[in-house]
């Protein structure tokens, strides 16, 4: 035993055995492991209670080892984690699908409407793919809820919107809007007319239109176009006009606001169409335009008709006046017919052909014409032609407005019409000073009827008669002359 060992024994006593046992314990790995395992759990507990240094120390190795473990055995971990994460995945997917369905529904809806056609056209015009346009349009915004709120009390007067918005009690929402209003007013300016009009909550935009007694709050999903705000104010305005009295004295009894829905509902239905609104606004509305067109057409037709009737009357006047033997004293339209009053010579021919060429049909005419004899030369001429049937060699003519029958006619004809001719001449209706008898007929008349034998007397008489207009011929005188010359 060394001196040192002796000294140690003197100081610490005889515990060499204990020491060597300790030494063994420290040097043996198994012993040490057992020792640490005994204190590990309480030690972790203690450090955790003290501070988070252990967590910090462990976080990196733990996450590293987890990563490695998952990489090696992903299935096992997925199985373990599944019950924990599946529900949340499910709800997330359900949400995504339901919103996608809403979009698809809307897309299909608009694809089959006028809006869809418009979009198609716009797509051609702008070159933006049709589907993209539709989606954009469909996703743009949706009016979800409208609240008509009493301005003073914040009490809800009426509301309208989809049921399943998951919003809280409408009365509370309504009061909240009003409270926010007061809060903002109080915090910012304290002035009554400084109002909160727009705000956003997540994906929702809330617009509030203010009237003197009520405000109309509109909850919109997405980005609404500015034109919608005009609609909102118009809606409030029409409500204000319709329910002026009730709004002023609202005391929480909404039953006085019957049919309020009629005013609010259109806002909800407007939805996607609104996007087109700003473009459409300045355009002339189709409805009124049609009415204007119809009115213009009707007016035009009336004017045309009046003009047409007038022009037909004047056409009728013109041609009737030109026609001989017709005197029109009055002509006007009655029940779609032209009633003509005046005088008509039975010998006159009415110019029906000409009139029908001007669109005036014969059956359109109602003639109330009194028969009369027209002394117009034209008429006389026609009448005489008909009555006398002037033989060849004679001519009926008008000279200086006077009718003349001139030429040479057979004695037989002359005798047959003798009385009438003389009467006409006496009436100054017919000039006969150039009407002679033909030589041949005179000769045979002298020979056969008057039994004047041939001879110088007859030749003389014939020569004289031939130069004498018929009406001036006096056969008695001729016979007397003949007798006188025979006696000689």
């Amino acid at each position: 035993m060394s001196q040192l060992d002796e000294l140690r024994q003197i100081i610490v006593g005889d515990n060499t055995e204990q020491l060597s046992a300790l030494k063994d314990r420290i040097e043996s790995v198994e012993e040490r492991t057992r020792d640490v395992s005994e204190v590990l759990a309480p030690a972790i507990d203690a450090t955790m209670r003290r501070d988070d240094s252990l967590i910090q120390a462990l976080s990196d190795p733990v996450s590293e080892s987890l990563k490695r473990a998952i990489r090696i055995e992903p299935d096992a971990y997925a199985e373990i984690l599944y019950p924990a994460i599946a529900p949340s995945i499910r709800t997330a997917i359900a949400q995504a699908i339901s919103s996608m369905l809403a979009t698809i529904n809307k897309t299909i809806e608009s694809a089959t409407t006028v809006g869809g056609l418009k979009a198609r056209f716009k797509s051609i015009r702008t070159g933006v793919p049709y589907a993209e346009l539709l989606l954009r349009q469909s996703l743009l915004f949706r009016v979800e809820h409208l609240y008509l709120i009493d301005r003073d009390s914040g009490l809800l007067i009426g509301e309208c919107g989809a049921e399943d918005q998951g919003l809280m009690d409408s009365d509370a929402v309504s009061a909240m809007f009003s409270a926010i209003q007061s809060f903002v007013q109080d915090s910012f300016s304290g002035r009554e007319d400084d109002r909160l009009t727009d705000f956003k909550v997540g994906e929702h935009t809330i617009w509030i239109a203010h009237g003197p007694n009520a405000m109309l709050a509109c909850v919109i999903l997405g980005d609404p176009p500015a034109a919608l705000k005009i609609r909102l104010y118009e809606t409030l305005e029409s409500i204000r006009i319709r329910y002026a009295e009730q709004l002023q004295h609202y005391d929480g009894d909404a039953s006085q606001f019957a049919r309020l829905d009629d005013y609010m509902q259109p806002m909800l239905q407007s939805q996607l169409r609104e996007e087109e609104l700003p473009e459409e606004k300045p355009k002339l509305q189709m409805g009124p335009l049609l009415v204007y067109l119809v009115i213009a057409a009707a007016l035009g037709y009336l004017i045309f008709q009046a003009l047409d009737r007038e022009s037909k009357l004047s056409t009728l006047h013109r041609y009737f006046d030109e026609a001989p033997g017709v005197v029109v004293t009055k002509a006007n339209w009655q029940d779609g017919k032209i009633v003509v009053e005046g005088l008509l010579d039975p010998d006159a021919t009415l110019p029906f052909k000409t009139l029908s060429a001007h669109g005036i049909e014969q059956e359109k005419l109602q003639l109330n014409l009194t028969p009369f004899r027209s002394l117009e030369t034209e008429m006389e001429l026609r009448r005489f032609e008909k009555e006398l049937d002037p033989p060849e060699g004679t001519i009926l003519s008008v000279e200086n407005g006077v009718l003349n029958l001139s030429g040479r006619a057979s004695v037989i004809w002359l005798l047959r019409h003798d009385e009438r001719l003389r009467q006409l001449q006496a009436d100054r209706r017919l000039g006969l000073s150039n009407l002679f008898a033909t030589d041949g007929s005179l000769n045979s008349y002298l020979a056969t009827t008057l039994n004047i034998p041939a001879g110088p007397g007859r030749s003389e008489a014939l020569a004289k008669l031939s130069q004498t207009p018929w009406v001036e011929i006096s056969f008695t005188e001729i016979l007397r002359d003949l007798l006188r010359s025979n006696r000689r």
Binding site: L156, A172, A175, A179
Partner: protein, 167 residues
Amino acid sequence: MQKRKICMVGDFAVGKTSLTQRFVNNSFSEKYLTTIGVKIDNVVVDDTKLIIWDVAGRDSLSPINTNYLSGAAGIVMVADGTRPETVESLHTLAEMVVEKIGQVPCVVAINKYDHNAFKLDDEQQNKLTSQGWDIFKTSALTGDKVPELFQVLNNAIGAVTSVGEEA
């Protein structure tokens, strides 16, 4: 359904929110979460829907925002029975209310009646009753006199409006 706006007013931490929650949800919390701005709840009493505006309490730093009061059909004024100064301030509160919205039916709750520090001397009580107010010694914790508080206020409002209609 007939609706009425009711406002809870009073100094901070007197128990406005607690009284409202006791009445509406029949619940109570020891925790004090001061109300900021206003909190709105509603409850149906006798076929009438009361929209209760639980307004933030008043203190020396923030006077109540009287804008919240407009259109109220009735007022619940709340004081804390363990803090006499909150009872005193009811009078100035009442003035503010009248100035903002005129005379409306009003009830007074002296709250925390369950608390052993609760104390309301005769002088204080007389001063309150002389204003014509109905006084309730309430406890949001036990629910004592809470339904009565709102019931009486609702009846008072009903009486006022039916008188108004007859006139």
